[in-house]
């Protein structure tokens, strides 16, 4: 069998991503006819920039979902003859499975294409989840800080500025180390941090339904059961059902990324709260005798959603960059991990002779972050229009 030519590589690449193309076609085909009825999501399809962004993001989301069928080889399998192989290299006869290394092999003779696909899975699980947790932390601290003001606000603002004054990389070098994991610090930190999303949901439900105890008890109970189940798995790796689990390395990365992101979210939420709390509808709610948490969660927060949604998209992109930075400095992720930052780091040593192992994940990371940025830009444009 011959090595693939440039067009052959492209054809095989497109073919491997077939499930993704089908899913993308379905998403766009179903969304565009109904875009008038889909709220902000539907409006996205009015802006070309937003559509391109959404396309790129969904491409990677579907890649992560269908990763198991897209990969051509196990991301850890080594075929010695294909060390630093050129894209389209033929797998030697006698080896079962897919006949080519579509994007060549890396310095340990692993398939660059499969590692890129598996890396997408890793990034797309950690980045949105870490951003979401950072958001709940930022909201739970930022709302009261902006609403009440006073000494607690001053202390929280000082702490947020303190974290932001750290150079991010120094913080990572201090927080994501085997030494820290030995002390058990990340686990306790996570134990504290992951309580906040649960508290967020419970407060959200309680402030709305506390006048109807049966309803409140039902909703809050369901939220608590699900929340504590996820909590036991995520923070202490002790999920009774064994579905949710985060190993010590990933937990450490997760905690560090949330820690870096939440002060910025805090500042944004606090600023928005300061602005919104002087509005008439807040005064009206206060006159009605609503509790402070009801006002914060059900009056202020929904009215701050525009800038927050836009920032959420941007922040997932930023978190992706941070995860890449961690990988680039060889922090946290295990050496054979297929995440994009680590593969760029591994490939950069031989960059001028064998560019592909670093080039492919670099382009992947760039396209995902670009997609998120374009999506955020489209959302901003469309939400400003009305």
């Amino acid at each position: 069998m011959d090595p693939l030519s440039a067009s052959g590589i492209l054809a095989q690449f497109l073919l491997r991503f077939l499930p993704v193309w089908v899913a993308l076609a379905l998403t766009f085909g179903l969304s565009i006819p109904f875009k008038r009825r889909l709220g902000l999501y539907g409006k996205l399809f009015d802006s070309p920039v937003g559509m391109i962004g959404f396309f790129l993001v969904m491409f990677w989301v579907y890649t992560a979902i269908f990763a198991a069928t897209i990969v051509t080889h196990d991301p850890l399998d080594q075929i010695a003859r294909l060390k630093n192989a050129w894209p389209g290299a033929v797998v030697p006869s006698g080896q079962k499975g897919y006949p080519w290394y579509i994007f060549g092999g890396d310095s340990l003779a692993r398939d660059v294409f499969s590692r890129m696909v598996k890396g997408a899975q890793l990034v797309l699980v950690i980045a949105p989840a870490a951003t979401a947790v950072a958001y709940t932390v930022g909201i739970m601290l930022g709302l009261p800080a902006g609403y009440y003001g006073g000494r607690a606000d001053a202390v929280l603002t000082f702490l947020a500025n303190l974290v932001l004054a750290f150079p991010v990389i120094l913080l990572f070098y201090l927080l994501v180390t085997p030494a820290i994991r030995q002390t058990g610090l990340p686990m306790w930190f996570a134990g504290l941090m992951f309580l906040i999303p649960i508290a967020f949901v419970v407060v959200l439900i309680n402030s709305r339904f506390h006048t109807q105890p049966p309803k409140r008890n039902l909703y809050a109970g369901v939220a608590l059961v699900i929340g504590l189940w996820l909590y036991s798995g995520a923070a202490f790796d002790a999920d009774p059902l064994g579905i949710v689990s985060l190993d010590a390395n990933k937990l450490n990365i997760f905690v560090a990324v949330v820690f870096v992101n939440s002060p910025t979210v805090f500042r944004i939420v606090r600023g928005l709260t300061l602005d919104i709390k002087s509005r008439d509808y807040v005064a009206a709610a206060q006159t009605r005798g609503e509790g402070p948490w009801y006002i914060m969660m059900w009056e202020i927060l929904p009215n701050a959603r525009g800038p927050l949604i836009v920032d959420f998209c941007l922040r997932i992109g930023y978190t992706t960059i941070l995860l890449g930075t961690l990988g680039f400095f060889g922090l946290g992720f295990s050496p054979e991990s297929p995440d994009w930052g680590s593969t760029i780091n591994a490939g950069r040593k031989l960059l001028s002779i064998y560019p592909y192992p670093a080039f492919v994940p670099a382009l992947a990371l760039m396209s995902l972050v670009l997609g998120l940025n374009l999506l955020a830009d489209g959302l901003r444009e469309e939400s400003l229009r009305d």
Partner: protein, 362 residues
């Protein structure tokens, strides 16, 4: 004004104190100290020997006392070397142990300690490395500021035009590309022997040996040339350009809708004149703040870029210090970093007031 400055400086001092304390605690966690002992003395020490070594070198005192020693408000530790019988201590010169030593030696006395990785005084390491990074930053700013302002102004002067769309997308793409990605792409395009422009230029006979630009900036420490410095500068500048250009564009579009611009246009002033004379001056207030606040962000880019291009500057020193758990060098580096962050914030606040007289400091 004076009150404002004093308050800001006090806040800066408090932040630096808290920050260095956090760094101090995290670098002095027991596993980190064990690692330090093993790299400094011998990798095959037993647990007992490690404890002994730490005790002998003053690492076993309570953390607050040792932080005080570093600050120079607590007397430095002293002891005797069991092998030579000569005095040892924080303030004792290891090359002349019997010479009289001061009681206090810390930051307050101007002594930043000794780097365990470079075996040199911290102030010297930081000074040399900062100077190297200074050159990098200087060229980054020279490239970045004019480029981003021109892109922002061109995009913002006619909102919604095709030029605006193209330039806005370009600036979004540049902010979406972290340094370790753009650095890799740039090296592949310009510094690779097998891919990008170098093989092409060789094919055309324009280039005979080597690569178009160098993928490593290690030689730039001996002498800056275009081919060893262009890629690192471009890598850092690219990330910043997009952000500053977008802010400039936003500011420019806002100014272009103002009443006085319409008045000027209706009086018959040409479009170019309106942009140059009336709009530009008012549109440049916001980018000034953004550029100042962008400098601390560039610091991160500097660390990544210096690692990628092997340029031995401040970022490289920070990474070496962090990898070797070099406590005093890390503290020195974090003080430098926090001063840069807070100083640029202060300058941007003050500059904003000067540029925009409607705002008062209070």
């Amino acid at each position: 004004m004076l009150k404002f400055l004093v308050r800001r400086l006090a806040l800066m001092l408090l932040t630096a104190l808290c920050l260095t304390f956090v760094v101090f605690v995290l670098t002095n966690l027991h596993p980190n100290l064990v690692k330090l002992a093993k790299t400094q003395a011998s990798a095959r020490m037993s647990d007992e020997q490690v404890v002994n070594w730490l005790q002998l070198n003053g690492y076993s005192d309570p953390i607050l006392v040792r932080y005080g020693e570093w600050l120079g408000v607590v007397p430095g530790w002293t002891g005797t070397n069991p092998e030579t019988g000569k005095p040892m201590g924080r303030c004792v010169n290891p090359n002349a142990p019997t010479a009289p030593a001061p009681r206090y030696c810390g930051v307050v006395q101007g002594d930043w300690g000794t780097s365990t990785v470079f075996k040199q005084p911290v102030s010297q390491v930081v000074g040399v490395r900062l100077a190297a990074t200074g050159w990098l930053m200087l060229w980054v700013l020279i490239v970045m500021i004019p480029t981003s302002l021109v892109i922002g102004i061109l995009a913002g002067m006619r909102e919604g035009s095709r030029l605006d769309r193209v330039l806005s997308t370009v600036s979004i793409a540049s902010t979406a590309t972290p340094e370790y990605v753009s650095g890799v792409v740039l090296i592949v395009l310009f510094g690779s022997t097998v891919m990008g422009f170098t093989p092409l230029f060789k094919h055309w006979g324009l280039l005979h040996e080597g690569t178009l630009l160098k993928g490593s900036a290690a030689s730039a420490l001996d002498g800056l040339t275009f081919d060893n410095f262009a890629l690192p500068v471009a890598t850092i500048a690219l990330y910043g350009i997009g952000y500053i250009a977008r802010m400039t564009r936003a500011s420019m579009t806002e100014v272009m809708t103002a009443q006085y611009i319409r008045t000027a246009r209706l009086k018959g002033v040409s479009f170019a004149q309106v942009v140059m004379r009336h709009a530009l001056r008012n549109a440049l207030i916001a980018p000034f703040t953004v550029i100042m606040l962008q400098i601390p962000w560039l610091l991160n880019g500097v660390v990544i870029t210096e690692t990628l291009f092997n340029y031995k500057g401040f970022g490289w020193a920070l990474v070496s210090a962090a990898e070797g758990n070099d406590i005093e060098l890390l503290l020195g580096c974090s003080v430098v970093a926090v001063v840069i962050v807070l100083l640029t914030q202060l300058i941007s606040d003050i500059g904003y007031v000067y540029l925009n007289p409607r705002i008062r400091l209070s």
